[in-house]
Symmetry: none
Subunit: 227 residues, 2 copies
DNA sequence: ATTAAGCTGTAAGCTAATTTAAAACTTATT
DNA sequence: AATAAGTTTTAAATTAGCTTACAGCTTAAT
């Protein structure tokens, strides 16, 4: 999951960034509206956290412009305590949720998770497709009820694919979401990762939960109804 | 467990703080509503004790604002005897339990324990998983019925993990709830602590009650049904 | 006051899991 | 058949977590 944070208070920005990275998100940051606007236009985000009180270009303005240009990832706005009324303006501009500063880090995480889940069309913390299920709370993957051991990266990959089950996800998109740095064009980490995950999720090579669309990317199959 | 106390009478605040620290809680304190509100927004609390008769910002106000901004830790309110009717207002604002002053320290401790337990989904004061049981009242740990000697920190760690049994808890989250100070990123206290606890709870290395999820955290196993 | 015992945190080395990189190999597409 | 895209295998590099030993403190006992 790739998240953008736009926040001008450096210490807060750092804390939030560290926390989200720890949770396994790929995090992009901006300390002003202009940079933030650009990053949001340029990169495929899963969510954005935007402080409304920004220098140069206001948070409201950034959100409006994103929405005007068709960007539809969920946006969580942060408002200073004295300015909580701003939230209305923010929500009208196209934000999805708000949080009043100072806030509880866990609250931010919870809301972000909820937002991301909602946009993926999932409502509970258990993603399940056919015989494969992923519990985001216990971070447990099960295959036909049996737990499957997955590594941190495998988990992230699976979560992203299941969250977007049925959609084709390009390799570039995947690398961008799983890793901070931009892709090395001469690396096959992703293919290796997909291979390992496939072997774990489908030992007998019969279900094929992760489809390959040559030249386009991967797709998590929706309809493997053997579970 | 991390607890916040908001109380303007200094002697009472001190007594309660000392008592809770003695019980092994990490305690944050505030003598007025404004500070208390802020601390509650900022730190990951497991519970809060709020006196309703506060200077500047009232207890009711503090609770309302916390709840409005999504804070969901349990809250115990304290009311003066003459003002016991205030409790209704407090509970409506989002508090979970109340205590009329003057009270017995024992009673406060018992109610706090109950509140914290309930948030983890436990209804009785005995947390038990497989052959491991933890009595939050007596602060006693038993393994297959036999008492196990654990130190203060080992107890805190075990209590937190058992309360959130089945969920993955990151190391940062654990440190935040076990210690007052913020994490040293280059310390391995937690690993050492987990190691010691494991040796005590599972001397033969066969049950593995505390699972490690590399890169993600620890998880107390729900289903070790050998007890 | 002195000593002993136990608790907690630090540091270092170690182990093993995980990730990366590279090369050989397979499959689709034109 | 030629080429591009994807897969698999292996080995090397990296890193997270475990263990152990020890030192500083605190608490209890003499």
């Amino acid at each position: 999951m790739r998240i953008l944070i736009i926040e001008d208070e450096a210490p807060l920005l750092e804390r939030v960034t560290a926390q989200l990275r720890e949770q396994g998100y790929a995090v992009d940051t901006a300390a002003d509206g202009r940079t933030g606007l650009y990053l949001g236009q340029e990169y495929p985000l899963d969510a954005a956290v935007v402080d409304l009180g920004l220098p140069d270009l206001s948070g409201i303005e950034v959100i409006s412009r994103w929405r005007a240009s068709g960007r539809c990832f969920p946006i969580l706005i942060l408002t200073a305590r004295g300015r909580w009324q701003d939230k209305v303006e923010g929500l009208e501009a196209g934000a999805d949720d708000y949080l009043v500063k100072p806030f509880h880090m866990e609250e931010l995480l919870a809301r972000l998770r909820a937002l991301i889940r909602r946009t993926g069309g999932w409502t509970q913390s258990l993603l399940s497709c056919g015989s494969i299920a992923l519990d985001t709370g216990a971070q447990l993957v099960t295959l036909a009820g049996q737990p499957v051991e997955v590594t941190a990266y495998e988990y992230k990959l699976l979560e992203y694919l299941m969250l977007h089950a049925g959609m084709v996800i390009s390799k570039t998109t995947l690398t961008e979401h799983l890793y901070q740095e931009d892709e090395d064009r001469d690396s096959n980490v992703l293919e290796v990762l997909v291979g390992r995950l496939r072997r774990k999720l489908d030992p007998d090579r019969t279900l094929n939960p992760i489809e390959t669309l040559r030249g386009r990317g991967y797709r998590f199959a929706l309809d493997r109804s053997s579970g």
